[in-house]
Symmetry: C2
């Protein structure tokens, strides 16, 4: 559970980031900003703020916001109900984001796993996205990502999203709608 | 065929609109701005400017730009290769856009069909989108849309896009990659 004051602070800072980037939300969307700490209670280092624009059976679009150096932990999207796993395109809108996928480990990467829990990060091929740049992940590809020093705003275009089915490398994580304490 | 000077002018004005709205494109994307006049040679009234961010077998995302009162003519997306027709969500980013779909005709609508070719517009239920507002179209739903007095920038989140299969009410229209003269 995220303490209410942590949630409110993260929500307000996300709204400021979106506003500064010219991203307009409706009043209802502003209320519905999601703050995910992945149950690790360490939001400044491991977490993600987002708004889901649309999520139908076929298509999902989200806007993600990350604070400086904040990490979305390693996970993959398995097949669900006879559908192939989720396919995702990440497009950097603002700031900088480092995505890590299987492949040759990048020497001297820009980001690094959060120090506590390093063993739960296993893929180290780095893709750097600056504003306007994007990367498409095939279903079931392990990945994690981290914002650069200013933070990042990232558009996600994907197939249907069912966060509760995501498989995280860190067994302590359970991704589900967060309950605010 | 769109005359080269018309294309270049439309492309540059689209790039300015995107830039003013904080939408960043890569140099290659800037080169690839698509200008569609639907073969009607009346771009100021009937047309659309766009960039396709991604178009995989499952997911497509585009950014559309319309000049003041510019109209995307009435069409629908049929099933293609045993897949249901394209599902589209339009999200207004900037300006204002009026979408017309089947249903009760809206009295005193904000937009109106281009005067030449009015008979090719048959659905008149109006959905007004201001920045942050969005609307999802089911497959095979007839629709057309028109920008408000300032023009509009509209994000489109959809299933796979195959423009050449779109069915337009106006039989003069053939939607295909435009050749620049």
């Amino acid at each position: 559970m995220i303490p209410k004051e942590v949630y409110e602070q993260a929500k307000n800072s996300t709204l400021s980031m979106f506003q500064d980037a010219g991203i307009v939300l409706t009043p209802l969307e502003k209320e519905n900003i999601e703050v995910a700490d992945f149950g690790l209670n360490d939001l400044a280092r491991i977490g993600l703020q987002l708004i889901v624009y649309v999520n139908t059976d076929r298509v999902c679009a989200k806007e993600l916001a990350l604070t400086p150096h904040q990490t979305c932990p390693e996970h993959k999207h398995p097949p669900v109900k006879h559908q192939p796993g989720k396919e995702e395109t990440f497009r950097c809108r603002w700031g900088e984001v480092y995505i890590y996928v299987p492949g040759e480990s990048t020497p001297n990467p820009q980001g690094k796993p959060p120090s506590e829990g390093e063993s739960y990060y296993t893929v180290f091929h780095e893709v750097i996205l600056k504003p306007g740049e994007q990367y498409t992940l095939s279903p079931e590809t392990l990945h994690w990502f981290q914002a650069g020093p200013k933070g990042a705003i990232v558009s996600e275009f994907s197939t249907n999203s069912t966060d509760e089915n995501d498989i995280f490398t860190d067994p302590r994580i359970l991704r589900k709608p967060e309950i605010i304490n």
